[in-house]
């Protein structure tokens, strides 16, 4: 177990800079998720923590010890790869024990450690097989076994679930979370799947274009996104954006747009200038209401029941808005519909910088 500090880490290939001064602190036993679209630099950052890629600047400390000049084998880390990277020529048992073998642990001790890890992951019956004879989920478990058997200071996961089918992915996600809670080892986890980020992380770093857009706990990232990119990247369906005008009124401010009028409390209404803003609200924050309570009014366009809930696409002014409503929603296309919105759940963004505005 150890803390991880990433200090002003940069990376460039020739004249192309792919990481611009990244700073991250991860507490002992924490679970850091690096989240972003492909090409955002998250895997590069992970490879630099692992030592598979050199940094172009900055420092990385694992357990307070700078590791940038150490070879991967000397960093006391373990990594699970997207392709699992099991050694095809070796049995499962030897795959799991390879790290111990390389470190000169004697055969008896190794056997015990491998069996313990296999028991923990329920793969004891597979130890004599070759990786080619395993299913995707089993390979994933072997790859995790190889990581945990060495009891490293830090686990690195590089999109470990992206090669699994949907059902198995959910199972393994739970498995990883259970493993983290049981072992308590710090983890850095790369993914482009926001559900994995939300469910697993104690800290989520949302990345884009080599910059960290927001580093916070999953709840904050979801509820109070730092900018419109984070807001739209996290959550499915994505956050609704409505351009409009902020106007002052007694006791606070009001957001006005075609079909929308929401009063919001503000700490210092006098300091807020009346200006164009973009309103962001999550689909589940739109609650169907009576006409006289409505703060959002629109016309139903599409109704999509998914089982546990129903998605309703509503035309509000000239914008399309998605609302997540209870499963037995009875509305029909072309009907007028009214919603209330909890003002506390609303996010405002600057239309030019796309950054969050706090009022």
């Amino acid at each position: 177990m150890a803390t991880l500090s990433i200090k002003d880490v940069r990376k460039s290939y020739g004249s192309v800079q792919v990481l611009h001064g990244v700073d991250i602190e991860l507490e002992d036993g924490g679970f850091l998720v690096l989240l972003g679209p492909s090409g955002c630099g998250k895997s590069t950052l992970l490879n630099m923590i692992a030592g598979l890629d050199d940094t172009s600047g900055g420092d990385i400390l694992i357990g307070g010890r700078s590791v940038v000049d150490l070879a991967p084998k000397d960093r006391n880390i373990a990594m699970v790869f997207q392709s699992y990277a099991l050694y095809p020529t070796m049995s499962v048992a030897r795959n799991i024990g390879f790290g111990l073998e390389m470190r000169g642990v004697d055969a008896d001790k190794r056997k015990g450690a491998v069996e313990d890890a296999a028991r923990l992951l329920q793969i004891s019956h597979l130890l004599d097989r070759r990786p080619a004879n395993l299913s995707g989920g089993q390979r994933q478990r072997v790859a995790m076994g190889r990581a945990i058997v060495r009891d490293p200071e830090l686990f690195l996961f590089d999109e470990p679930l992206s090669n699994l089918d949907a059902k198995l992915r959910v199972e393994m996600r739970t498995e990883i979370k259970r493993l983290h809670e049981r072992l308590g080892t710090s983890i850095v986890y790369v993914t482009h799947d926001q559900i994995e980020a939300m469910t697993l992380g104690t800290k989520v770093a949302v990345m884009k274009g080599g910059y960290i857009q927001q580093l916070a706990d999953p709840r904050t990232v979801y509820e109070r996104p730092a900018n419109m990119f984070v807001a739209s990247f996290i959550g499915s369906p994505a956050m609704n954006f409505l351009p409009g005008q902020l106007v002052r009124e007694a006791g606070g401010v009001r957001f006005e747009a075609s079909g929308v009028s929401i009063a919001m409390p503000a700490r210092k209404p006098a300091e807020i200038s009346e200006r164009p803003v973009i309103l962001g609200m999550r689909p589940e924050e739109l609650k169907v209401a009576a006409r006289d309570q409505a703060s959002v009014t629109g016309v139903i366009d599409v109704v999509e029941p998914t089982g546990p809930e129903t998605m309703v696409t509503v035309q509000v002014g000239d914008r399309s808005v998605i609302a997540r409503v209870p499963p037995r929603f009875a509305g029909q296309r072309n009907e007028t519909i009214f919603f209330t919105v909890d003002p506390a759940s609303i996010n405002l963004f600057d239309p030019d910088t796309e950054q969050r505005i706090d009022i």
Partner: protein, 281 residues
């Protein structure tokens, strides 16, 4: 309608087989002819009417070439030269191919291209400067010198072939090994080379056969019995007034036996390696 379709398909099949059989006869015919000749008495080889099948069989030609000429020595020399060539190529070529496959360094692509360009020059062009260099360092008429000369044109080929196999071995595997405690070289030896084993065997057999059969360099760079290889030795048996056909044929047959044996041993691995390279490399 169906009748004519079947008819047409049969004609196409027959045509295919005619082409295949004639090509096979063209390729295998000389070897069969050589084998038959090696079993004939000298008097039955040059005759007024062509005698295809030997009327009497003798193994005298084999006895003669093995006991009355320096043929065992020639084969021995060829073996040594081939082994040396393969060893040099495998050791240096594997490291080079790995570096080309895994490291991005300045001039990498140009260097690889250079390797190809070297192959485009005819051997005759290279041979005189090579001879001068070899004489300068005292390696003319030595088996090691000949092996070095072979390396000069076989190594690029070996590196090119092997690089393809290394490219198709996933990088993540060695990354995993490096994190598990291997050095880069250790990861290469333990993980990548076993994966590219088929390719390594295929490439090695390829250059072994090329070195075994090579004639021109051997002719130019060897002058004495001590380092002469079998293709040159066999050629030198052709006298001005005399052509010992039977003995030459026996020598030819004997010298392809090692190649056949080698191929029989590694054939499965080699074919796997070659097809893998063809698809992924």
């Amino acid at each position: 309608m169906i009748e004519s379709k079947r008819h047409r398909r049969m004609i196409a099949n027959i045509a295919t087989y005619v082409v295949l059989v004639s090509l096979s006869v063209f390729c295998i015919g000389p070897m069969v002819w050589m084998f038959l000749t090696s079993l004939k008495y000298e008097a039955d080889i040059v005759t007024q009417t062509m005698q295809y099948m030997p009327s009497r069989i003798t193994f005298d030609n084999y006895v003669a070439i093995w006991t009355q000429s320096g043929f065992p020595l020639l084969i021995g020399n060829s073996l040594v030269v081939t082994l040396l060539t393969v060893t040099i190529c495998v050791v240096t070529g594997t490291l080079a191919a790995y570096a080309f496959s895994r490291f991005a360094f300045r001039g990498r692509d140009r260097l690889m291209l250079g390797y190809l360009v070297v192959r485009m020059f005819p051997a005759v062009m290279v041979i005189i400067p090579l001879y001068v260099v070899m004489r300068g360092v005292g390696l003319v008429d030595s088996r090691f010198g000949l092996a070095l000369a072979y390396t000069s044109f076989l190594l690029p080929l070996f590196v090119w072939m092997l690089k393809g196999f290394f490219d198709s071995a996933p990088r993540e595997l060695e990354n995993a090994a490096r994190i598990d405690g291997s050095t880069r070289l250790g990861a290469m030896v333990r993980i990548v080379v076993p994966l590219a084993r088929n390719g390594l065997v295929a490439s090695s057999v390829f250059i072994a056969i090329a070195a075994w059969n090579e004639f021109l360099f051997a002719l130019m760079l060897t002058t004495g019995q001590g380092s002469r290889t079998w293709p040159v030795g066999l050629q030198l048996m052709v006298g001005e007034f005399q052509l010992p056909w039977g003995v030459l044929a026996a020598g030819g047959i004997l010298s392809i036996i090692p190649v056949i044996v080698l191929f029989a041993i590694v054939q499965r691995t080699m074919v796997q390696g070659l097809t893998a390279g063809a698809v992924k490399g």
